[in-house]
C-alpha cells in the first residue's frame, strides 16, 4: 500500500547550515500526526518543502503515490495539501468571510475578463460561494464574527480563522503550524475539539506543536524531528515519556 504522504531523504541547506538532513517519514491517511522537536529542528522547513515553497537539495516528497518534485505551490494545493503559518499571515484589512472567500478555489470572476463581461454570472456565483464560506466559518465556530475585519478579531478567533482559510482550499491533507500556540486554556480546548472534528470530516492532519499536553490529547502518531532528521516515531505516550528525547527537547544536545 502506498504511503499517503512520504518524505524520502529530503535535504535542505541554507548556505552552510543544513536545515534538513536525510529527512524521511510517512504519514497515514485519516490520522492526526504531530510533528515535534526543538527549535531549529526543521519543522517549518519540511512544511515549506512539502507545499512547494522550497526546493530540496536532494530527496523527494510524494503524495498518494505521486511525486511532488518541482511542483508549484498552486498545483500542490490543487492536489490536496494546504498549510497554515505560525505567524498567521491573515489578510488584515479584509473581513473574516473575505479571508475565507479569498481561499476558495476556482471562482468565477477571479480574472478581469469574466468580471467585466459576465458581471451578473459572477455576482450570483459569489452569492453561492459566500454561503460556502459562511458554512466553513460555522464549522470552525466563527459564524458570529464573519463580517468583522481581521484586525478586530481576538487572537484566538484569528487562529480559528486560519484554520477556516486552509479548509476553504478544499485540501484533504492539512499542515498546521502551531495551531494552538499562544491560546488560553478555553481557546485551546476549542482548537483541539475542532481538530478532532476535522479528522471526523475525513481530513488528515500534520500538526507542528510544542505543547506536550496538546500532543498527548490529539495525536494518533508523533514524529520527533531533531537537526533536520527524523529521530523517533511512535505513539504520543512513547515519545513524550522517552527521557532521551526529553533531554534533547528541553535543552540537552546542542
Amino acid at each position: 500500500m502506498t504511503a499517503y504522504l512520504q518524505a524520502s531523504g529530503v535535504e535542505v541547506s541554507f548556505g552552510g547550515l543544513k536545515a534538513l538532513n536525510d529527512c524521511s517519514f510517512t504519514i497515514q491517511q485519516g490520522r492526526i500526526t504531530c510533528l515535534v522537536g526543538p527549535n531549529g529542528a526543521g519543522k517549518t522547513t519540511i512544511f515549506n518543502v512539502i507545499t512547494g515553497f522550497l526546493r530540496p537539495g536532494a530527496g523527494s516528497v510524494s503524495f498518494k503515490g505521486q511525486t511532488l518534485d518541482g511542483w508549484k505551490p498552486q498545483a500542490i494545493v490543487a492536489a490536496g495539501i494546504a498549510r497554515t503559518f505560525q505567524n498567521l499571515r491573515l489578510f488584515v484589512d479584509l473581513t473574516a468571510v473575505d479571508n475565507v472567500l479569498a481561499s476558495l478555489p476556482a471562482q468565477a470572476g477571479e480574472e478581469p475578463v469574466s468580471a467585466i463581461f459576465r458581471p451578473f454570472h459572477v455576482w450570483s456565483a459569489q452569492r453561492r460561494r459566500r454561503e460556502e464560506a459562511l458554512a466553513i466559518l460555522d464549522r470552525v465556530g466563527l459564524s458570529a464574527r464573519s463580517g468583522d475585519f481581521v484586525r478586530n478579531l481576538s487572537y484566538g478567533e484569528q487562529k480559528l480563522l486560519i484554520i477556516a482559510r486552509v479548509l476553504a482550499t478544499g485540501a484533504e491533507l492539512l499542515l498546521l503550524d502551531e495551531p494552538a500556540s499562544g491560546l488560553s486554556a478555553g481557546a485551546l480546548e476549542g482548537v483541539m475539539t475542532l481538530l478532532r472534528r476535522l479528522q471526523d470530516d475525513g481530513k488528515t492532519l500534520l500538526v507542528v506543536e510544542h505543547n506536550t499536553r496538546v500532543v498527548q490529547k490529539i495525536a494518533d502518531d508523533v514524529l520527533f524531528l531533531h537537526q533536520g532528521h527524523l529521530m523517533a516515531q511512535g505513539s504520543p505516550e512513547t515519545i513524550v515519556n522517552d527521557p532521551a528525547l526529553a533531554e534533547i527537547y528541553f535543552g540537552g544536545a546542542l
Binding site: Q74, A78, A82, F85, F91, A102, E110, A115, P119, A168
Partner: protein, 287 residues
C-alpha cells in the same frame, strides 16, 4: 466655454490613464514609469490607422487596446517572475526605449516632429469634428472605464488583488497564482492606456514623442499619488487636479522657458511630500 470643454476632455482621457496607472502601481504594486510609453503606443497605432484610412475609429481603438494589453503582458511577465526591483529597471528601460523609438523611427511615428493632421474620431460613419462631440466621446470613455474598474474591483479579482497587496505568500499558500493575477492587472492597465492613447490622438489631432516620455510617466504617477491609490475616486481626482495645475501656474508669472521644468519640479515635490506625509493620497488607500 471651449476651454472648459478641452479641460474636461483631456481630464477624461487622463482619468483612463489614472485608472491604468492605479491598476498597475496602486493595486498590483508594480512600480511603473513606462505608462506613458504604452499610452504612446496606443496613440500612434490609432493615428496610423486613421491617417492611412485603413479603418474607422472604433476598430482602430480596439486594436490599439489589444496591442497594449499584449505589450503590458510581454513586459511584466518575465520581470515579475524574477524579483521586484528588476521590474524597476525594466520599466525605465521600456520608457527610454519607447522614447527612442518614437523619436527616431521617422517612418512610423514621424520622428521628433510627430504626426500632424490626425483625423477626428468617427462613430458609426459620422466624424466628430466639433469639440463638444469629442468631449462627449471622451467623457463617455471615462465613464465606461470607471464602470469597468468598478466591476473588476468588486469581483473576486479585486479581492484577490487586495489580498496580494497584503501578503503574497499567504495568497500563494491558498492555491492562487499571484503571477497570473498581477499580469492580468497589468493587461487590463494596458487596455486602459491604449484606449486613452487613441482618444488623445484624435482629440488633439497631433501627437509627438514629448507627450509620451519619462516626464509624462512621472505625471501619471503623481496623479495616482495625489488623487489616491487603489480607489476609483483617487483615479478621478488626481487627473482633474493635476491637469488644473498648469492653468494655476499661468496665474503665477513663470517665464515660458522654465514653465515645463517648473511643472515637473512641482510633480517631484508632490511625490516627495505625499510619500512622506500622506501616502494614501487625497482619496485613496495607503500605497
Amino acid at each position: 466655454m471651449d476651454f472648459w470643454l478641452s479641460y474636461l476632455t483631456l481630464a477624461s482621457i487622463y482619468v483612463l490613464l489614472g485608472l491604468s496607472t492605479n491598476l498597475l502601481v496602486g493595486i498590483a504594486g508594480i512600480f511603473s514609469v513606462s505608462q506613458a510609453a504604452v499610452f504612446g503606443v496606443g496613440a500612434y497605432i490609432v493615428a496610423f490607422f486613421l491617417m492611412n484610412d485603413v479603418m474607422s475609429f472604433l476598430p482602430a481603438l480596439a486594436i490599439a487596446a489589444v496591442c497594449c494589453v499584449a505589450l503590458n503582458i510581454v513586459l511584466t511577465l518575465p520581470a515579475l517572475r524574477v524579483a521586484g526591483d528588476y521590474f524597476v529597471v525594466t520599466s525605465f528601460g521600456i520608457q527610454l526605449l519607447a522614447t527612442a523609438v518614437f523619436t527616431n523611427w521617422t517612418g512610423g511615428t514621424g520622428g521628433a516632429n510627430g504626426l500632424p493632421g490626425i483625423p477626428p474620431a468617427d462613430l458609426f460613419g459620422k466624424a466628430l469634428e466639433d469639440t463638444s462631440s469629442e468631449t462627449i466621446l471622451c467623457v463617455g470613455g471615462m465613464v465606461l472605464g470607471c464602470l469597468v474598474f468598478w466591476l473588476v474591483m468588486r469581483a473576486p479579482f479585486g479581492r484577490l488583488l487586495r489580498a496580494i497587496r497584503e501578503d503574497e505568500l499567504a495568497v500563494a499558500a491558498s492555491g492562487k497564482s499571484v503571477l497570473r493575477a498581477k499580469v492580468s492587472a497589468a493587461a487590463l492597465a494596458g487596455a486602459f492606456a491604449g484606449s486613452a492613447g487613441g482618444l488623445y490622438a484624435t482629440f488633439l489631432s497631433f501627437i509627438d514623442p514629448s507627450s509620451f516620455d519619462l516626464d509624462s510617466s512621472i505625471l501619471l504617477l503623481t496623479m495616482v499619488v495625489v488623487g489616491g491609490a487603489r480607489t476609483l475616486a483617487g483615479s478621478i481626482i488626481g487627473p482633474f487636479l493635476l491637469l488644473a495645475l498648469p492653468q494655476i501656474l499661468t496665474l503665477v508669472e513663470i517665464p515660458t522657458t522654465i514653465a515645463a521644468a517648473a511643472r515637473q519640479l512641482i510633480y517631484g515635490v508632490l511625490l516627495i511630500v505625499f510619500m512622506l506625509f500622506r501616502p494614501q493620497g487625497l482619496a485613496g488607500e495607503k500605497l
